[in-house]
Symmetry: C2
Subunit: 208 residues, 2 copies
């Protein structure tokens, strides 16, 4: 059986990654998803193994050192990471997994898994990105400036990704991501077993 694809979508804050990924899952609910590991305290209603795997910093760093965490990110003093073994298991079982990763996470995925597909989600422009960040109404001018500077730095990595999708419209962007996944499944390089079958049958038929 062909391995499931590990599809990562990365993009700066405000690009609309969350909305686009929700739409992708709404259109096709069959994707596996990854539960992150975190060192932060559970919030009310959050369950271990459902929303996150909650670990101490010691446990977390031990997992990372043993290669059980693909990449990690620090946010207000807490670590967040993607567990590697779960990805491996789902992919081996033929499940396509849709991942919301940082830039570094996508790069680590690409480096570690040949069945990876990395997609960079781009806002149509910085003006639009700024409008969206302001529209949230949650950030100060200073925080917005910091997010824009972060976005600028992050988009410098776009060329390291396999695909780039501009998020002009959530549904259009979601459909592009679904097309990318469907196309990747048709790539000859991802259908080695099928191709081997074809060649084997051809060989058997030879001269019949």
């Amino acid at each position: 059986m062909a391995k499931g694809l590990l599809i990562s979508v990365s993009g700066p804050s405000g690009t609309g990654k969350g909305s686009v990924l929700s739409k992708v899952k709404e259109i096709n609910p069959s994707f596996g998803t990854s539960i992150s590991v975190t060192t932060r305290e559970p919030r009310e209603g959050e369950q271990d193994g459902v929303h996150y795997f909650f670990k101490t910093k010691e446990e977390f760093m031990k997992m990372y050192e043993e290669g059980e965490i693909l990449e990690y990110d620090e946010f207000v003093g807490n670590y967040y990471g993607t567990p590697t073994v779960a990805l491996q298991d789902m992919s081996e079982a033929g499940t396509d997994v849709l991942l919301d990763l940082t830039i570094a996470g996508s790069m680590a995925l690409k480096e570690n898994f040949e069945q990876s597909v990395t997609i960079f989600l781009l806002a149509p422009s910085y003006e639009e990105l700024e409008n969206r960040l302001r529209g949230r109404g949650t950030d100060s001018d200073e925080a917005i400036a910091a997010r824009l500077e972060m976005a600028r730095q992050e988009t410098n990595y776009v060329g390291h990704f396999d695909y780039v999708v501009v998020n002009d419209d959530i549904e259009t962007a979601a459909k592009k991501i679904l097309a990318i996944i469907e196309a990747e499944k048709c790539r000859c390089a991802r259908n080695i077993e099928l191709l081997e079958d074809v060649l084997r049958i051809n060989k058997e038929m030879e001269g019949n």
Copy 2:
């Protein structure tokens, strides 16, 4: 402006290539198509420059020698070829071109155009291929055996293509081809101008 893609679909006789390509064009009529050059006599109602470009063998071979024909194929004593200049012109104008090519034609396309996308259309099985060939009711047992042997030889080339699509169902196969085209348009390697714009804007914003 990004160049239009040159998308070729190849596959053995009986695979359903004609029906699948018709369905692709029915769903998305915007593709450019190529008019073949041939040395055969026009049939009733066929117009030069509409159905084919009709040429003498001397004219045809002169075009081929001057690199104006991508590849050619001989069929019952007549030559059929794909004119190169028209492909180049449509692609430069940003038009995606959908091509029905022989295996050799797809390989020549891949070798000559970086904007090529090659797709091999595969029948679900040789049993099904044989059923389809018999279902046409036009070929003798001998002709069917020859077509099957040709199919066997042709499918040995599947691994040289970018993509493989199994034609279980015409509409499903057509939609896969459309997904492949949409995905290819999102590949970073095909969006050099967009990526350059992003990096240029990032550079301009630096330190602001």
